[in-house]
Structures are given as C-alpha cells and as structure tokens.
C-alpha cells in the first residue's frame, strides 16, 4: 500500500504558507543578508562530503519550517520508506524503483554483485589488453552505443572522472554514439580500426530504435572488415547491456557478453548498473565501486537523517518553494568545473523526464507547476553566453552552482600544477562572485558604483544554491548524483506525481514509425495536418 499524497492535514499548512509567501514575495536577498548575518550557519547543510549552501535562496528559517510541515502533511517520510521497502512507487507501471539497490553491499544485493563481478571481468580483460578482437588484437577503443539513460549517465561520469586512472592496465579510448542519424557513428567508424574496437550496445529494453540503428551500422562495418567471421565477430566485438536477455540473444549478442540489469531500474537511474561499463573502463572497478559507495552514503543519509537535516529533502523543498510559491519556473545548472561539462544535460533528463508530469495518482490533472525548465552549461563558459539574461533579463531563474572546494591534481603530470591550482582558484572566485552578484545585485558592488545608468545596474535577487564538493572524486560524484536522484523523488511526493515512468515519450515513437512509409512513398498524406503535409512534400521533392 502506498501512502496518500494528499491529506486533510495539508489545508492549514497551505494556508500558513500562502500567508507567508505574501510577505516573502517582496523580500530581497540583499535585505535578508543584512537582516541576518548568520544566515549561512542556519541555512546550509553538510553531509557525504558535500556542503549545500541554500542561504542565497529567498527564504528564512520560518519558510523552511513551513515547508517541512508541508512535507509532513504530504507524508514524505512514509514515501521514503515505501521507496526503500520496494513498494510499487512506480504505480503506472506497477513496479518498484530500486536503483538504490544497485549501490547496496554484497550481502544485501547478491544478484547486483554477481553482475558487478561479471562486469569486473570484462573491465579487467579490456584494461589488461586481454580482450581480443577477432584477429586476436587487443582492444584499444570502446564505443558505447546507447541513448538517454544508456548514454547521458555513463558519458557524464566518464568525462567527469577522466583524471582518475584505473589502478592497473591501460584505459581504452572511449567513444559515445547516441544520435539516431549516422552523424556521430559514421565519422567515428572512419577513424577506428575494426580489429581493435569493442562495441557496447546499451539499452534497457534492447528495442530502442536509435540504438539498434547505430549498432546495426557498427555490425555492418565489422562484417565488411571481417567477412565470413560472423561468430567470432559477435563474440569478440560486441558486449550487450540490457534488462532483456532474450532480445540481446535475438540480436546476436553472445551469451557470455551479456550484462544484465533489471526492470526495477529506470533508464535515467541506471548508471550504477552495468550501464556504467564505460565509467568502470575509465576509472577501473575500484573507482566504480567508490562511485557506488558514495551514492550508498547518500542513500543512508536520505533514509536516516531527520527531514530538517536531510540534504535531498531540503533541496527538494527549496525547489518547491521557488516553483510553487515564488513562481520561478526556470532553473540553471552551473557547474564551475569543466569536468562536469555533461552534468547539465544529465540532470535535464533526470529531472525533466522524472517530474515533467501533470497527473496525480488518482488521475486528476494538477493545478500547479511541477518540474521547472532546466538547462545549464559549465558556469565559466555560460558567463559568456546566457548570464546576461540571469543578471538583467526579465525571467526569474533559480541557479545551482556546483564546484569542488579543493583542487586535486591529476596523477601522472609532474609540472604545471601551480598553474592549474591557480586556474582552479580563478574558477572558484568566479563561482562565488557570480552567485553573490546574482543574489545581492548592486548591493554586491562597492558603494561608489551605485549611481550607474539603468542599463548598468544589477537587480539581483536571483536565488541560488551552491553545492561544494570536497573534491571531484568517484565517491563524491556518486554522492552528488544520488543527492539529485533523491531530490527528484522528494519533489514528486510534494507534487503527487510518479517520477519513475515516462509515458510522454511513447506516442512520438509510434507516430514516427508510421511516418517512415509516408516519407518513403508519399502515400497517406491526406490524413496529415497541413503543416506536416507541406513539410513531407518539401522533403520528398
């Protein structure tokens, strides 16, 4: 039995929040900081190697208390229990969401560790140069073919952790192919040597058209290189990762090269499973297990910390405050670290595919906002792109600043550390300066600059949260990602929606399938709308 999202207890809380927000709407962050010089002490939290500073959010301790009341009224604690007890929290698909099991220790999740062990064998063979192509050459390049969760998570984490080398062996060059058209795979295959290339086909269902189209292209490329070696080719050059072994076998993945995960893992929550093979090839199995351990620490924190000190809970409540009470429906994700380049697009999927919903469990459409529009970019680069809008545009935007507090030089390079440490300080300085200016506006500037023309003035009052990692390591990245995963769940409970399905992406696939013959033959145009008809005609001419 799932707990109820809505209860009678909620009404007085909502009433109190409504009254509170009438005042809060007029607050300016510069004033809040002036009123309470100890804001940082009461409005920041630490845990799992992360410092979360939400004192630059437009709220006070009182706001937080009211939001915590709302969480209680929504029975959040029961929902967290339901998640970790394996109840069917994904009610539209009648299954639990057990991604947290992927980080459990061996005694608690033996089947997970069986697959980790199998993955470890593959990783070990590749890193030691002992995974062989069909002519016996050592594999030097690995191509991950996948899309969505089978692409974004592994890509994000492999890129973020590239400084961390495997404890032994030689890391292969990793490549990611996701787009349905051949624009990524064709030039890549031109550069690669089929004899030394391993293709990892990752798809939870193993029916994803985008992925299978790319995988077919790779297979044809290998078949041209090694005609008449069909069997050796499949055994030596393809690994499959899926929750559907039958489909993998049907497609031709050798049984020994099949890595499994489970229906109870959502695609966007799957980087902890064998979908993370590229991550393990980047950092080695030891590093991958560190990543899992960092996430497990966050799981324990989420389950056990009281709501008021619970990082995912507080982050979720802050988001709800911004979206539903302050009407801030956009959020920018701004990592001040080039290694987190792919983190914004990873979060775009995690948050928007999870909470881009508008129907509650009883089928009622919601009459409030759910997930905001989320976008982002490496912060220091975004300063030269869209920060203008943040500082002087008309849209209120909440920002997540993410930065590593400590600079840890990558192992191996002898010289140049001083320069790199300096660059890190420069980046950190920019991160702090921007969040300060966004919050305080002109108030952050020296007094003599206040008499500026209007177009040079900074309004400020753009709220932000700063997440400072001790360092960007496998363990801390694991904690960071798990923090966002759980935050997404907290929000879904507050909104009364299911974060674990994605029905909104199904219909487009069906219509696209029907569109292919229309484009091929031109038949069936009459049934289409005028716009589509016009576009089809133009494309066919």
């Amino acid at each position: 039995m799932l707990p109820d999202h809505f209860s009678a207890a909620e009404r007085p809380v909502r009433q109190a929040l409504a009254e509170h927000v009438d005042k809060a709407r007029h607050w300016h962050l510069a004033q809040l900081f002036a009123d309470d010089t100890a804001r940082f002490d009461t409005l920041s939290l630490e845990g799992c190697g992360l410092l979360v500073d939400f004192s630059k959010q437009r709220l006070t301790g009182e706001t937080l208390d009211l939001l915590l009341d709302l969480a209680c009224a929504r029975d959040l604690e029961s929902w967290v229990r339901a998640l970790f007890e394996g109840s069917d929290v994904n009610w539209t698909e009648a299954r639990p969401a057990l991604h947290w099991r992927l980080r459990e220790q061996a005694d608690a999740a033996p089947e997970v560790h069986d697959q980790l062990a199998r993955m470890g064998e593959i990783v070990d063979q590749v890193l030691r140069g002992q995974w062989r192509g069909c002519h016996g050459d050592a594999i030097t390049d690995v191509v991950n073919v996948g899309v969505g969760g089978s692409d974004l998570g592994p890509l994000m984490a492999s890129y973020a952790l590239a400084d961390f080398r495997p404890e032994h062996g030689r890391r292969p060059d990793l490549h990611f192919v996701s787009s349905m058209d051949g624009s990524q795979i064709a030039p890549l295959l031109n550069d690669l040597n089929p004899a030394t290339t391993l293709i990892v086909v990752s798809s939870k269902s193993f029916t994803t058209l985008d992925t299978l189209a790319n995988a077919e292209t790779a297979r044809a490329w290998l078949e041209r290189a090694f005609p008449d070696q069909q069997r050796a080719l499949m055994r030596c050059h393809f690994v499959g990762v899926s929750a559907n072994p039958e489909k993998m076998s049907e497609w031709g993945i050798h049984p020994c090269n099949q890595l499994l995960f489970w229906e109870w893992v959502g695609g966007r929550f799957s980087l902890w499973s064998a979908i993370g093979l590229p991550i393990a090839l980047t950092v080695g199995m030891k590093g991958f297990r560190e990543l899992l351990e960092g996430a497990r620490e966050m799981d324990v924190h989420f389950r056990e910390a009281p709501l008021a000190h619970n990082l995912p809970v507080i982050l979720g409540l802050v988001d709800v405050w911004n979206i539903n009470f302050l009407d801030i429906t956009a959020r920018a994700v701004l990592p001040y670290d080039g290694r987190l380049k792919h983190f914004p697009s990873y979060l775009e999927q995690l948050e928007m595919e999870s909470n881009g919903k508008s129907v509650t469990r009883d089928g009622t459409p919601v009459d409030y906002h759910t997930c905001p529009v989320i976008w982002g970019e490496v912060g220091s680069n975004a300063q030269h792109a869209f920060y203008q809008l943040l500082h002087q545009g008309t849209q209120p935007v909440a920002c997540d600043f993410i930065v590593a507090g400590r600079y840890v030089p990558p192992s191996g390079d002898g010289d140049g550390h001083q320069q790199l440490a300096h660059q890190h300080r420069l980046t950190l300085a920019n991160c702090l300066a921007q969040s300060r200016l966004l919050a305080l506006g002109g108030g952050a500037l020296p007094d003599d600059q206040h008499d500026q023309p209007a177009f040079k003035q900074y309004r400020g009052n753009q709220p932000s949260t700063t997440l400072m990692l001790d360092e960007l390591s496998p363990r801390r990245l694991g904690s960071l990602v798990a923090l966002y995963e759980h935050k997404v769940f907290v929000e879904s409970v507050l909104w009364g929606i299911n974060p674990f399905d994605q029905w909104g992406v199904e219909m487009g696939k069906v219509i696209a399938r029907d569109m292919v013959p229309v484009l091929e033959t031109g038949d069936g145009l009459d049934g289409l709308d005028a716009s589509t008809r016009g576009l089809v005609r133009r494309a066919r001419s």
Partner: protein, 426 residues
C-alpha cells in the same frame, strides 16, 4: 696493475674475469644481492657460456678476488671500473665520493648504462671533492650468450675520453683485446654514451621495420625471409638485424631504446620513431598469439599450447622483457594451459610465474607438446632446429606449428602433414 671493478652486472663479471685473465690483480666489489650471494657460494652468477670456468680459474689463480662492496677498508686501486645496474647513479656518486676520499684512484672507467651526461657529472663530482682522478666512458657492448668473446675480441670499442693521459692508460689496459687492428674509437664522454644508445635504437628500428614489412608480406603473399635475404645482400644495408620475428626482449636492448626515448622526450625532441619501434615490438610479441587465436576463431578457452624457448635469446637464461612472457600472459588470460620447454631459462620463468597453475614446465621438448593445440617456437635454440616432425605430428592434438623465428622450411613442414605459420610467410 691493481684494478677494482664495482657492480654486479654481467658486464662487471666479464670485465673482472677478463682483466684478471690478462694478468691484472683484480678486486671485484659487489653490492648485496643475488649475484653476490651466488659468488659467495661459488655458484656462477650468470648463465653465460664460459663465464663460470673463467671466473673459477682466475679466482683459483689468485688474480681475482671477490668481496662485498662496503666503501671502506682497503684504499682504492689506481684504476676503477664501474659496471653498475642501470639507474644506479646514486650508487655511482657514493662510490665517487669514496674514491675521492680514499685517495689513490687516478682513472675511473664508467661502463654502466646511465643517461647521457652522467660520466661528466661523475668527473665534476670527483674534481669538486679534490680527486685528481679522470673519468672515461667505456659503454658496454656485450652480447649476452657471447659476452666473453665480445669482450676478448671486440669488433669495436667506444671510448669516451677527454684527457690524453687517461687515453694512454686506457689503451694500455685494452691492449690485449685490441691486437689484430685498432678498434678503439675515441670520442667525447657524452658522445660515447649517446653512441651506445643510438646503436641500440638503430638495431631496434631495423627489427621493427622488418616486422612491419612482414605484416605486409603476409597480405601480399610473399615470404619475408626471401625478401630479407635480398634486402640484406645490399651492401648499403647489410645482413644483421633484419630477421622478422616475434619481437626482441632482454633487459639491455629494450632498456637502451627506452632510455633513448626518454632522453629525447626530456629534451622535448619528438621521439615518435622510437616510440613506434617499441610499439611495433610489443605488438610483435603477440603475433603468435594472434595466429593461434585466428586459427581457432577465438575459441581457445581450455586449450593447451606448447612453447619452445622462453629465454629472450638463445644462450641466455634470462626471460625479462622477452616475447614468451607476453605470450604466456595472453594465453593465460584466455584460459589456455601453457607447456614450456627451455634448456636454460625454466628456473627464471618459474620464478616469474609465481606458481601460476596454467604453466607447466618440461625438461623434454616432446613431453611439452603432448596433446597440445599448437606449438609456438619462440627462442631459436639450436636443439629446436630439426625436430622429429612425425613424432610432433602424432603427439600434438592439433599439429599447428607457429614459427616465431622463421627457422623452419614451410613447404617441408607442411609436407610432413603439419600446419605451419611463420612470421610474414603468407
């Protein structure tokens, strides 16, 4: 003349023995370790043909005395040879400091393989400590397996020397080995050190070049061995070091090339050619594995393979850096059981393998091949050149001969009912 030799390299042992044989009173100082232990127990420290006898004779005659290196006690001899392990520059500096304090030494001959410039640095160190001793560089050019002969009858001697008096003394010491014609080539200290590395680099380049040609030969269906003879008959090229094969090994040769590569890199000169040379060599070490893999289309788990020859070259008991090791690791990684025969190198191989269950050592080459799916010829020991083909064919599970040194006649072997693959032979 009293001469001290410092070090526990093969070069040190040969130098000490050969100088004693030519009448000098030699004291050989060894740092603690395997070689010193062997010498103390009257065992031969290196399995080098003739070395045991020579050391024994000279010690019995009283001209050669062996002692642990303590850097105190007797004052140093007027002439001191340094033949230390590669990388032991710190030890060399310590010895130099002691020589300066012990007074009597006038000439230091550095035979060790150190980075270019080390001999000069030693010279400065001695001078700063107030020693009048001169340093000369005499890079070792010993070939393992024929080390004694290459010391006694050298084809050439590189002498790095900046001082006329030191050169006179060196010529006197080398006189017994420089009789037929003057093979001493005198040059600067750095030049001598660099020449030694450049020679190794050139030889390695020739080998890797031929191995690349062998790959092409296979594609073009020509026999690289025929091509080799044609190429080698051109006097501008010559015959040496043109054999395509399953890669070179040994500590000295590859180490020199790596040292040269590092030197180039540290001076920010691109080391692309030598990096390629080493990479091709590493690739070549697995060429027999790849043949085996292709033959069975990758289905090799649970099979058995025999390897003849694990030493990095015939005449040596050393296996370090040799192709056999890489080959065995590749086979183990695929769950293949490896049976090895080698007349000298099995103890070293055994020590390297550390009791791996998939390595079985054999004293008899024919026992090693029983029921195997392939025989890989890795080191061309003479005893492998003319096997009993029918016996091989009948005892092997799959009569697949993978000839890593192109020593067999492909047509003859095939005519005996066996399958044959060489390196670059179609």
């Amino acid at each position: 003349m009293r001469i001290d030799v410092f070090g526990d390299t093969l070069c040190a042992s040969v130098t000490a023995a050969a100088l004693a044989q030519s009448g000098h009173e030699v004291c050989w100082f060894l740092p603690r370790g395997r070689v010193l232990d062997a010498v103390n127990e009257d065992r031969v420290p290196y399995r080098e043909p003739g070395l045991g006898d020579l050391l024994g004779e000279q010690r019995a005659a009283g001209r050669l005395r062996c002692a642990p290196m303590t850097l105190n006690g007797d004052p140093a001899a007027p002439v001191v040879f340094l033949a230390l392990q590669p990388g032991a520059q710190t030890l060399a500096a310590e010895i130099a400091d002691w020589l300066a304090s012990a007074g009597a030494c006038g000439l230091v001959i550095n035979q060790s393989v150190f980075p270019v410039g080390t001999s000069e640095a030693l010279q400065r160190r001695l001078a700063e400590a107030g020693s009048p001793a001169r340093v000369v560089a005499l890079p070792e050019t010993l070939q393992e397996g024929v080390a004694i002969d290459s010391f006694l009858r050298p084809h050439h001697i590189l002498l790095g020397c900046d001082d006329p008096a030191a050169e006179t003394l060196m010529r006197e010491i080398l006189r017994p080995f420089n009789r037929r014609r003057d093979v001493i080539r005198v040059m600067g200290l750095r030049e001598a050190e660099f020449t030694k590395l450049a020679i190794s680099g050139m030889l390695a380049t020739r080998l890797s070049y031929m191995n690349d040609m062998a790959l092409l030969a296979e594609q073009l269906d020509v026999d690289i061995d025929t091509v080799r003879q044609g190429v080698g008959s051109d006097p501008r090229i010559g015959e040496a070091y043109l054999y395509a094969g399953c890669g070179f090994g040994g500590s000295g040769f590859s180490r020199d090339v790596m040292s040269l590569t590092d030197t180039l890199r540290s001076k920010e000169v691109s080391a692309k050619l030598l990096e390629q040379v080493m990479e091709i060599n590493e690739r070549q070490k697995e060429v027999l594995f790849r043949r085996f893999w292709r033959h069975f289309e990758g289905e090799v788990a649970g099979r058995r393979v025999a390897i003849w020859g694990a030493a990095f070259k015939p005449g040596s008991d050393r296996v370090d850096n040799g192709p056999a090791l890489k080959l065995i690791e590749a086979l183990w990684a695929q769950d293949v059981q490896v049976h090895v025969h080698d007349p000298l190198a099995l103890p070293e191989l055994d020590a390297w393998a550390g009791g791996h269950p998939d390595l079985i050592l054999h004293d008899d080459p024919y026992q090693a091949v029983a029921d195997v799916d392939a025989l890989m010829l890795v080191t061309e020991w003479k005893l492998y050149w003319s096997p009993d083909w029918p016996r091989l064919r009948d005892s092997m599970g799959t009569p697949l001969i993978l000839d890593g040194r192109n020593i067999y006649d492909p047509d003859y072997v095939r005519g005996q009912g066996l399958l044959y693959h060489g390196i670059g032979r179609g």
